[in-house]
Symmetry: C2
């Protein structure tokens, strides 16, 4: 059997555009493959979220599917769509795979396992399938499943989430090939976990596993592609590109593997993910140009370098907004960065505006001591200046806060948090430095001084992050244990060897900053648990972390 993996980048809601893209892939694969697989929900785009609840949306996706199907001949096509549920009870849709042959939908296979955790809300929209079926492709019985349906293997998960294993049922029914269409988002190390699971399943059942994944950024989610074909011996025989569209055609009789994806290190993966996430968010929102504040610090430098890689230097503007508390180096380092990246920059000192605020507030504040008010005010003057440029020149503002500072609330709401996309909001500070070094691997792009100087918000004379926070090498493991692993105080103390009172204090800082994170822009997810859609914490809550 000759397989084509149509690893495409869909746009949510752009039904016709998604279908046109697939017709183009079908044309390229025809004559070379017996069947082409597209990703989960490729017609409506993934994740369609509450668009599924709009009258007419699901019907429009069915119309688009039917028009698409009418143009298919000479190759079988497997494609994901939202199928209306015509039964008298239950959720309004199924998350289904259509199998198309000779201008007709010959079979529809519904997803059985509906992920409803982290960023996934499928139980909100879809009714699970209660049955499994096979379909004949090139005369052989094939089990077609959708994404999560292959993620309940009892040998891989000590505590399965679901009571049934659709894959096992299909193999028991006589499936000779396992095909799966997915929209499985990237996070660090996720692809290795994903491929290991599929390899275990191929070996366990001694079947080919043919797996087609989505690629591209959709709001906070980044899909890494890496569609794969695994032999019954568990060997990866074909692997599509990472973080790029790809059409991969592979003859299952071939002994010669085709391995296209290249990123190996965790950091290279993270960098590619963030670059794709920026490019797709900006373009799918209808923008082409971005800007950001450049403080001379490592967060804005990394954000800027990623944006330049995503969009080109001609589409990125750096804005320097020094205050009376800024070190000389903050301007020198930011200008050097702009020069190294070949981007335009502007300098707008904030003292004048800042002083005008202070003057106008004096009748009310009288002789009140300076405090966090004046620190935040400076950050907010910068936010306003950046938003003025955004409005005047139709630039999408990138915000530059890292995960560590957003976690503990070490950020100014309506100040440095302003923007349309929070590029590194899921990158802990220690990993920001790793990214900086990776970006500099061939030549100095981010000035060395930006990397080696102690982190500071520079909002009062001589301020350092370490005045009010533990060193990031101590903070980040505590935050990871709490946010990604949901550990409690005792477990975190045991795991990190940190001081118990410090741990408890940090957990309460994270909880108390929830109101700030509620108001952040979309942030690109690269860890197993990002702030945002996948982490749903109450704000007005009083859990005590004993």
């Amino acid at each position: 059997m000759k397989i084509a993996l149509g690893q495409i980048n869909t746009t949510v809601g752009a039904l016709e555009k998604n279908a046109r893209k697939m017709l183009d892939y079908v044309a390229q694969a025809k004559g070379k493959a017996d069947v082409i697989l597209f990703p989960e929900l490729a017609i409506p785009g993934y994740p369609p979220k509450d668009l599924l609840e709009l009258s007419g949306f699901v019907e429009a996706n069915v119309r688009t599917l039917n028009q698409f199907a009418e143009q298919i001949e000479g190759i079988d096509v497997i494609v994901g769509f939202a199928e209306p549920n015509r039964e008298p009870s239950g959720k309004p849709c199924f998350n289904s795979a259509a199998i198309i042959r000779d201008r007709k939908i010959i079979s529809v296979h519904r997803k059985s396992l509906l992920p409803t955790y982290d960023v996934f809300d499928e139980g909100r929209y879809f009714e699970p399938s209660q049955t499994q079926e096979l379909v004949q492709i090139t005369g052989r019985p094939v089990g077609v499943t959708v994404c999560e349906d292959v993620w309940n293997d009892k040998d891989s998960f000590p505590r399965p989430l679901y009571k049934i294993d659709p894959l096992q049922v299909q193999v028991n029914m006589g499936a000779e090939y396992i095909m799966n269409i997915s929209a499985s988002p990237y996070h660090l190390e996720k692809w290795e976990e994903r491929h290991k699971l599929l390899q275990n399943e191929a070996r366990k059942y001694h079947k080919f596993v043919i797996y087609s994944n989505l690629v591209g950024g959709n709001d906070e989610l980044i899909f890494d592609g890496r569609s794969v074909i695994i032999s019954p011996q568990g060997e990866v025989m074909a692997r599509a590109k990472d973080f790029e569209e790809d059409l991969l055609i592979f003859d299952l009789d071939s002994k010669e593997p085709i391995i296209r994806s290249s990123s190996v290190s965790r950091i290279e993966n993270a960098k590619k993910a963030l670059v794709l996430g920026i490019r797709d968010y900006v373009s799918k929102c209808g923008f082409s140009k971005v800007h950001m504040g450049l403080s001379g610090g490592v967060d804005s430098a990394v954000t800027c370098a990623l944006a330049v890689e995503a969009l080109g230097p001609e589409n990125v503007l750096g804005v320097l907004m020094p205050s009376q508390y800024s070190s000389d180096h903050s301007v020198i380092d930011a200008v050097a960065l702009a020069k190294n990246l070949g981007i335009r920059h502007e300098i707008i000192p904030i003292k004048h505006v800042f002083d005008s605020y202070r003057e106008d507030l004096r009748p009310i504040f009288k002789n009140a001591a300076e405090d966090v008010t004046e620190e935040n005010l400076q950050a907010r003057v910068r936010g306003n200046l950046l938003m003025a440029l955004s409005n005047k020149y139709n630039l999408l503002l990138l915000s530059t806060g890292n995960k560590s500072e957003l976690a503990v609330g070490y950020t100014t709401l309506y100040g440095d948090s302003c923007g349309g996309l929070a590029v590194i909001s899921d990158v802990p500070k220690t990993m920001v430095y790793e990214l900086a070094k990776f970006i500099n691997r061939d030549r100095e792009i981010i000035p060395q001084n930006t990397i080696i100087k102690p982190p500071s918000a520079e909002l009062r004379p001589g301020q350092k992050d370490s005045d009010s926070l533990p060193a990031y090498e101590i903070l980040d493991p505590i935050l990871e244990a709490y946010i990604e692993d949901n550990l409690d105080v005792d477990q975190i103390v045991q795991h990190t060897k940190a001081d118990r009172e410090l741990v408890r204090k940090i957990l309460l800082m994270v909880d108390r900053a929830e109101y700030k994170r509620k108001q952040l822009p979309i942030g690109l997810k690269i860890t197993s648990k990002a702030f945002g859609f996948g982490r749903r914490m109450p704000i007005a809550q009083r859990y005590n972390h004993h």
Copy 2:
């Protein structure tokens, strides 16, 4: 049988505090009632959201339940808690009701139907019960269910969401009394729908329905209480207070109804809901004082009047920030409002700061024409001034945008959207006027001129909302049809008789403003569909609304 309804206001995460409150209610009911019912998930508070995923949280809630149970004697207690799922597969918890008698938990009944739509995410956390049981109370068989379990009656819903009806099963098993513990949030007309459903079920099965509901604000959700006892003839025999805690004791043999809740009109209900929502959000976040910008317009006037009712005039500060485009009346009207409400006010003109921004941006903007940039800048100067006051005096800033303007993006991000709580973000503009008139029912609190003048953002000379938007009497029905009823263009045209191109344009405006709404503060929900947690729209999407 003598019933006590313990209609309490829980705090999410405050396990011991919630238990202490219930012990106090138990002490009051002992000797007067055979059984007291508390709300759903009363131990952890509702909704606990992802706190349920933290290691130790569910165990701590079980510990609290056990300590609570040890103190119970002389009365049966029914109380909601999160029960760990000890089975080898499935979600980690059940949403359960514990029945406590003589210091012991004698029975645990698990929720079968898990709402996973709108603001509800229960499929994310809980495993559904597969079985139904009865418990003996005063020697009679009682069916105890949790909230949604009574919401799948096939005679009330044309298309049931779930395949089973736990209530019917329990009645078939011989339940003589129907008891339900709930956390059913308020929205306009919801309580009538809720009571009608329960009345239908009481009549259909010819049983007493005993229904205990939560009261209080928890982030965006407002629970209205109105716990109720309904006779087998469908008559409301007892109804607890609305929007207040209550302990209602009722003998089922009594013929004399006890009806405590008083609000009748839709607007009085909405006003009480918003007042409770403000009071609880502010206090459960640990604040006591609030402030807001007063523009002289109706949105800020209504917000301010609600805040004064919630917190008292001594805890509310009004801030007037006129610009060169403000009409004289904007200051006069705002001062009159402050005087009528008895609150302190401050005046900070924004021209000086605004001019300093313009001056500093001139080298970049050069001779670019004034546009929305300068309008937004004024709103953002106000946002910064308000946040400076918030930081200096520990005031929680209330934002004052209404639902209509947030829908179409007629709001300045980081400007008038700044704040910790968006009080009227779910109140359409036409209803803001209704609230204003209701607030003025006895005497003029909101100046008449605020109510009668044409709405304007006053961000450029002579600006009126009607320059760029249709009249709110036309806009609001279109928005309601789209946002609350999910209708498509054709359906909205048919429903509202509005122009087709106008409808399509408005729907696209709503979609394109999603990025702004992503960054709003928590907003109090009073309609069937509010922006925020219950409406999950993708941002980078391109659905075309044919």
